[in-house]
């Protein structure tokens, strides 16, 4: 028997990484600058458009924790988003609470819903898991349609508070600032997960669940953690919705556009990294907002479809994948 050795090759240096505290600080700084910049513009439309785009940043980032990091494609993003919106309606009506506590309750409801979905779909993978999440959306919508307390199929009007929290001049400005903070927090959470032990385990189970188990990864527990965090964050994305338009009804809250965008945005940006959903959401939501103003909101889903087809064919790993390939 010969003891063959492999010729030595120079060891490639590990890529440099920013630490968690530094990234959180940077996210907070970007959020502060964004709030000040939007306040500088001071237009109600700018607030609305930014809130629209940022809610997709939160939604896409949240979806990516389960869909991108763990590889479990969730077609029921609209269910979690609407669960957040209707939590605001229900809690606001029952307890008269303001937006911030409602967001907290939405996270709780979304988390429990995510955990429940995870437990019910333990043995499902691939298309079967996706179909199960789609079913969740249908079931939840049916419940809301038949729940008169939150308006049923007629929908519910939500009156914005008269008093605008200091130092904001309008409620739209306040809502937009809350959304900026939520988006920054969502991105920082996603990045922290990605670079953590949890992220490593999720990446392992995404690539090969049996091999991950053999390497000591508790795949079931990690999947449940991912469904819970993802569900909570998607619900948080939806919590401000009723106050954004002062009205919410089941067909729009459970709309196809939320489910499609939540998947398309990370796919277009790149699912392997926290930056992918951020880039995809800003790009697609801006395009849709521009189309709504210049053409019609009816063109939105068509735009998403066309962009998605182009990216699936030309850049299957998204924009981030394109950059990595060029390096």
């Amino acid at each position: 028997m010969s003891d063959t050795t492999i010729p030595a090759m120079p060891t490639l240096p590990a890529p440099r990484r920013t630490g968690h505290p530094a990234f959180w600080l940077a996210s907070a700084a970007v959020a502060l600058v964004s709030i000040l910049a939007l306040r500088g513009i001071g237009s109600e439309y700018a607030y609305f458009a930014a809130t629209f785009i940022l809610q997709y940043v939160v939604l896409a980032t949240a979806w990516n924790i389960l869909g991108g990091y763990a590889g479990y494609v969730n077609f029921g993003a609209a269910a979690f988003f609407a669960a957040g919106a209707y939590t605001t309606v229900a809690i606001g009506k029952a307890l008269g609470l303001s937006l911030l506590p409602c967001i907290g309750f939405a996270a709780l409801v979304g988390g429990v819903l995510g955990l429940g979905t995870g437990i019910l779909t333990l043995r499902l993978r691939g298309a079967y898991f996706a179909i199960a999440t789609l079913c969740l959306s249908v079931v939840l919508q049916t419940i809301v349609v038949n729940w008169d307390y939150v308006g049923g199929s007629r929908g519910a009007y939500v009156i914005r508070p008269r008093e605008v929290p200091w130092p904001f001049e309008s409620y739209s400005g306040y809502l937009c600032a809350v959304m900026v903070v939520l988006a920054a927090a969502a991105v920082a959470i996603a990045r922290s997960i990605e670079k953590s032990r949890l992220g490593l385990g999720l990446a392992a189970l995404r690539d090969d669940e049996a091999a991950a188990e053999a390497a000591g990864v508790p795949t079931l527990r990690l999947k449940l953690i991912a469904t819970t965090i993802s569900g909570a964050m998607m619900a948080v994305a939806g919590a401000p919705l009723p106050l954004l338009g002062s009205y919410v009804e089941p067909n729009s809250a459970f709309g196809l556009s939320y489910a499609v965008n939540a998947i398309a945005m990370p796919l277009i940006g790149g699912t392997g990294s926290w930056a992918g959903p951020l880039i995809g959401a800003v790009l697609l939501a801006s395009l849709q907002q521009a189309a709504t103003v210049t053409i019609s909101s009816a063109a939105n889903l068509m735009i998403v479809g066309v962009v998605l087809v182009v990216f699936v064919c030309a850049a299957p790993h998204g924009i981030i994948g394109l950059f990595r390939r060029q390096k």
Binding site: R197, L200, A210, A214, G272
Partner: protein, 238 residues
């Protein structure tokens, strides 16, 4: 159980519908031993591995590892107790770099320091340190086999099941993997080698067990076992 017995299989049986893949398999493995487990295709070797590693539940009997019954323990719980395996076809985490592949068992196995330095040491032990930041798709077949072994050994296992770790490799590459397995064994790891490459099995194994149609038909000194009529018949036919 005798203190030097690290693994005991007692009456292990497994069925897939009406097909009996394993039936009443008894096996004892001593600490530090190099055991070869052979048998023709479909004899139940991989099913035995999967039952032992916790990928499938066995229908009858069970395993005792280091004096502890393994029934009801999931794969990752068995891995954390020091029972590692490799797969017939290398199954790297394709979205992770070579180094990150090793960080997974270090981070989750709970049996070693989960540091980048320790991961590099694991890679150095299989001569893959130079490719630490490459992706698995950039590795050759033998390098993938080494990565598979490094991932298993990062668990610091007391028992390693090497499931056809040499399938499809050249003569020289088989020697590389054999050298690695000998080194691991010299470090105290008990190894069950499941293999079709008979040269490797005979060179490596201190003892040989033979499965045929889900039953153990022989167990003993490799030369004696290979010359037994029932073993010859299983491989060559009547």
């Amino acid at each position: 159980m005798s203190p030097d017995i690290v693994l005991r299989a007692e009456g292990v049986g497994k069925r897939f519908g009406g097909f009996t893949a394993l039936s009443g398999v008894e096996l004892e493995v001593r600490a530090g031993e190099r055991l070869g487990l052979i048998g023709p295709n479909g004899s139940g070797k991989s099913t035995f591995t999967n039952c032992l590693a916790g990928a499938f539940p066995s229908h009858d009997g069970g395993f005792t590892f280091k004096g502890e019954k393994l029934a009801g323990l999931k794969s990752h719980e068995r891995a954390r107790r020091g029972l590692a395996r490799t797969f017939q076809l290398p199954r790297p985490f394709r979205g992770l770099t070579v180094l990150e592949n090793i960080r997974v068992p270090l981070a989750y196995g709970g049996r070693d320091d989960a540091t980048a330095e320790r991961a590099m040491e694991c890679l150095e032990s299989v001569e893959l340190a130079a490719k630490a930041h490459r992706m698995p798709k950039e590795l050759t077949q033998v390098e993938l086999r080494r990565l598979e072994l490094a991932r298993a050994t990062a668990l610091k296992p007391e028992l390693l099941i090497a499931d056809e770790a040499m399938a499809g490799l050249s003569h020289a590459e088989v020697d590389q993997i054999l050298a690695l397995l000998f080194r691991l064994n010299a470090g105290g790891t008990t190894i069950i080698m499941i293999e079709h490459v008979m040269r490797a099995v005979t060179e490596f194994s201190q003892r040989l067990a033979v499965l045929v149609a889900g039953r153990k038909v022989a167990d003993g000194d490799p030369r004696e076992v290979l010359s037994m009529p029932e073993v010859e018949e299983a491989y060559l036919g009547r």
